[in-house]
Symmetry: D2
Subunit: 408 residues, 4 copies
């Protein structure tokens, strides 16, 4: 009895990049599961040609109506990146979650396409050691609890590069020359970031070699002159760069270009994976880093303290949920509801100085500013604030501490 018969899977939608690994998976699904394959290739702004994926799929016998290539760039930034940025989310203090936030969108489309094509399963090329398998699968199960999921890297025995390539050749899959050897590291890219990990990065004491970086110039090679930019926000989302209104994806793309030029957004991190191990990653998030700083800048003058501090306390949990793959969970949605409510009137303009790896907020203004020069001033405030009120404020805040002190 074949696997297909055992599993009962008749049609599977594969997250297909067109690269060697997912091409092997495509063929392996055909051979081992004996089932129809639908390919789905997403344009998330990873900066690669996607049409070759169509050709390769055709070569492996996929009919045109089963080849999906979708431009998801606007949806990605508008419905995933921006909501996350409203939370000022950073995992473990630093990581802007560039890979994590793309996975639920891919799963969402996989499930939609499965419905459109009558497929009963989805498949992905993530390995059994990483977070991405979890993110793909939790999202898929949340959106369709009956879906079947195939994760070839956890099932097959092609566990070394050599065996994978042998298998590819046995099955007439073309293997590009530069894929024959081991890649010195592994990458993932989308409009928000590029991540690299593995191989040459595995010793966390060794500095990341410069050739690993692909999205940013080395700060040392960045311009010697700072560049000032203005970003406009409306209700918590970026809407314009230097006064020019832009769609979400267009804005992020423009910030990526600025970040690249000024060497902004490089991060070398040892992080804790959901599956229980530590890994060392290198991230480049040029536009995202600028955007994240700008967002905090506009919040500084438009967000009330109570809202701001609550957001700061909720953020680590929110970031953890995204990192762990729980985008489509009630608790992430609850936190999002709280965060989104706070973003009303997070509107105005932030000025940043970009210079050799730095993206610093140097000014912010807003028609909805809560900053009151009248109240805060060292000068005469015309009675806006009665300094004597502070005495009572302190006295009552101190009362419990004094009662404690008396006990000692």
């Amino acid at each position: 009895m074949t696997v297909a018969a055992k599993s009962g899977i008749k049609k599977v939608v594969l997250a297909y990049s067109g690269g060697l690994d997912t091409s092997v998976i495509l063929k392996w699904l055909q051979v081992e599961y004996g089932c129809e394959v639908v390919t789905f290739t997403a344009d998330l702004g990873q900066g690669e040609e996607l049409e070759p994926a169509r050709e390769k799929a055709r070569l492996m016998g996929i009919p045109d109506e089963h080849i999906y290539i979708d431009d998801l760039r606007e949806e990605f930034v508008r419905d995933f990146v921006f909501p996350m940025m409203r939370a000022n989310a950073r995992y473990e203090g630093d990581y802007l979650l560039g890979t994590s936030i793309a996975r639920p969108l891919i799963s969402k489309r996989l499930i939609e396409i499965a419905k459109e094509t009558g497929a009963d399963a989805v498949a992905h090329g993530a390995t059994g050691k990483g977070n991405d398998q979890v993110r793909f699968e939790l999202s898929a199960y949340a959106l369709n609890p009956d879906i079947k999921i195939i994760a070839p890297w956890r099932e097959w025995d092609l566990t070394s590069r050599t065996r994978l390539i042998e298998w590819a050749e046995q099955h007439q899959i073309p293997v590009p020359k530069d894929k024959r050897g081991e890649s010195p590291f592994s990458t993932d890219a989308n409009m928000l970031h590029t991540s690299s990990e593995g191989k040459v990065l595995e010793d966390p004491w060794e500095e990341t070699p410069d050739y690993v970086y692909s999205r940013t110039v080395n700060p040392e090679d960045a311009p010697d002159t700072p560049e000032y930019i203005n970003i406009d926000f409306v209700d918590g989302d970026g809407t314009a760069l230097n006064g020019v209104e832009m769609s979400p994806a267009t804005l992020l793309e423009a910030l990526n270009e600025l970040g690249r030029k000024h060497g902004i957004g490089r991060l070398d991190l040892v992080e804790n994976r959901f599956v229980g191990m530590k890994s060392r990653g290198m991230y480049e998030t040029p536009g995202g880093e600028i955007y994240a700083r700008a967002h905090r800048g506009i919040e500084q003058i438009t967000l009330d303290r109570g809202a701001a501090h609550l957001k700061d306390e909720l953020m680590p949990r929110y970031a953890e949920l995204i990192y762990n793959g729980f985008w489509f969970s009630p608790e992430r949605e609850m936190l999002q509801a709280a965060i989104d409510l706070s973003q009303k009137n997070v509107t105005g303009t932030v000025r940043l100085k970009l210079y050799k790896g730095n993206a610093n907020v140097v000014g912010r203004k807003s028609p909805f500013s809560l900053y009151s020069e009248k109240v805060v001033t060292f000068e005469d405030d015309a009675g806006a604030y009665d300094q004597k009120d502070a005495a009572g404020f302190i006295k009552l805040n101190a009362l419990r501490l004094r009662l404690l002190g008396e006990r000692k």
Copy 2:
């Protein structure tokens, strides 16, 4: 009836800098309260000569045994800055709490000196609009619930610069020429940082003028060549720079020098004060910024995920407590107990690259590292991790989401 009679205060310990403002306060206490004054001047590494304070105090009739000038630098860094750094504390995402963390130490000494000299009150020169009054007074009350506190800025009517100077001249207090006009901004300094606020900084849209900075070179003027340094940690605290063991204060001083040179640790922030208003401040924390990043770096490989994430969730509250003046509170001490427990084995070496405002971790190693190349590797892991386990892990994590999905 004089204020002294009303208040019943006989002797007061004044936090005395030797500057014009606290000199006026000294005299005003003598005149208005008719009480003995004890002066206390702390060396917190603010980089000023303190002996002139002694002379000025003598000139105003303070007997030598009532003039305290204490070097608190090691205590400051060892018992206040380092414990706070163990928490990775940043207020509102960015501020390293340089002013906030110094206040409880000053209050602690004020209360100790009050006990030594039999004083029944303490006095400080913080204004009624700021956070420092709260920090001074909450700490003082916590340590001595019966202490009386005099905050002249909330009491007197010398509310303009002109009146203050007139009063000073009427009472034979020398007014230096450069203090006659308005200072363009107000500063506070200690070994951890220098802060500036007010006047020219009051418009948050205007970039902070370069002349406001005093502790760091402009990144544009910093060396064109990066500098690499190693910092050693033992159980969560820094112990050595480039292999040379140093006391806490010596280490921080050395990092300050490095930070100054490379333009590291400048921060322009609009923050929320505990007293309810927003203010705009400029901070320079050169050594602190380097140290904070290094500490996170060593935690990356030595701290378990559960501990690390709990710390991240507790941090905003912890930082808020320090900012608001609750250092000597049960809840800060509880959080500290949790944090300190986590720091066992946060031991090892972090390598940083300093360059024009950037202080980036580029390597970390530890005899207690939890990073396992054996487990994480993309290569054959000799059975250290069974990728098939991930299937069950995902299945059970997904179960509740699937049950939810079925309901929809």
Copy 3:
């Protein structure tokens, strides 16, 4: 110069109960502030006749158009009590916030009436030691930042019962015989609860005397036979009792009657006031206690674990915000948004057993139940759950602990 002239207050809206204390306040405002007074008496289901308040106000010269008596019972339960119950809010583990939740509604009406009548101030009869002053005033300021607030208990010198009564008699305010002596305790009542504090309750070692209770029978005197009831919920709010649909206030009133009969909802508590002291209170929340338990009961089968645990973690903060008077704050609204989102499908029927002080959930059912007998069963589950998945689940959850264990 009169206080009125100094304060500039021309017209004030007074939260007026018609009792002796607020009658004295009414007169005192007329005498001391020389301003017009508008009286506002709210029916929150406190179980008192309100028309006498109208008569008394008239006797003190308030024109009819300045006498407001409003039935707020439905608004109170629908817009304040029920939203709070969705959060399962209990302050310090026990207190159902019966007084706290009424204050913002009263303030809201005070501010609305101030607008309608062109008043520039509001006044209340809460003392300077309690929480209610804070709750009234924070709400009032949030809704109208320019409002002036008069809190006579913090201003006047009628600080003993004797002086208050003397002043009343001097100003021709009738003093009922039973108000001449000291009341043995002080109470507050509304549809959700009755609270008592002070005097005979001030020693927290002494048991609350039975005569203090007014809303519930002593459990020892309650029926010897249990009573079973069913409560229906739709999207988190109660809608029916024993199959009979009811409005929010009607439902709460019916539950109050049941709670009274069975001696449910008595609470003797020493709590921490926002103003910094501990106080001992006695609360009776008969219907609220039943409702609160029923709400948890329906959540047990309809709320996902992620949502439920997030709610439990947010609850203490949410309860604290209400207790401290921050109902009209961005952070309370943010938490409410999160909580409300979770309540979709918190729909179904809860069965409770009421018996001598106990209100225990004994059954719950829902068309949206997430409880799956198929999955959980000890019997054959027909493959709904693969026990082997648990092995991988445990293995990956254990991985970080094993790496830690290896270090030790």
Copy 4:
């Protein structure tokens, strides 16, 4: 090749109750793994004779030196139950974690015995659907990362009662008459509680039948007269009942007797398991319920507000960690450190009234009380509290809300 050969396991320590299920497991380990078995039977106060377990083990060929029967009652209460009670831990608002807290202690002894006897594996009788497997195994792995774990219920095919009994008879294991049929529910018991689940309890709408309860009388059958008791605490732990000093286990046992008599501590709950499903359980925690309420009672007067509120916010996470099996984790230990620090001076006496299912605190006193009658009194407080301070306190707390209000 036998399983033993494959697994390489030579000796296994089995958590052995002496009942039918673990007797079958014992034999199955001998047959299927061909390895030596060491039995460990813990006395956790479950109220069963343990010597029969020794006889049964001998009958199955276990040598005396491989039969461990340990009285862990004092260690259980002192080192597990009491620390947990310091946190006021309740899972999902209600459950006192009676089963959860016993598992780490059993695992601790399993690992100790494995070390003493040179065993390379441990085994337990928990099923693959429940939480207990997770708790046993996470604890075991944390304490010995190299240990092997056998969970027969996840491995074997004896998945129906009939097959289990057949297998037992084939292997000469005596099957008591009353074990031949299906048990109507499944129980776990220790000194803290008895839990029951499954079968007749699987419909959450059906009331738990009275015959399921074994540790408490039905409140309807409890005495008609209330009983008052005093419990003393020292630094957060119970030390005496009605003035008689007792060890932890003796105290809990005495409270169990009182709880049984008065029908206290019954709980019918639908809870969320860590493995992702909801289950319905019935718990009886007679002494624990009394103790938990008493502990909150003594905290009311001895714990500062800051500490109390922080504890309340941390509690749900702490309870979740215990429920999920993470007792031996850094994050549980961090939370414990914070909680334990707060318990200094949680010392004094609590008075409770026990009556037909109710255990209500009616009085509390302490030499370290923070409750100040002098401050809180409605009477003249001799200046202990200045009501005018409240004005400033409110004004500054309101400031940010007013600035917000102005924006609207």
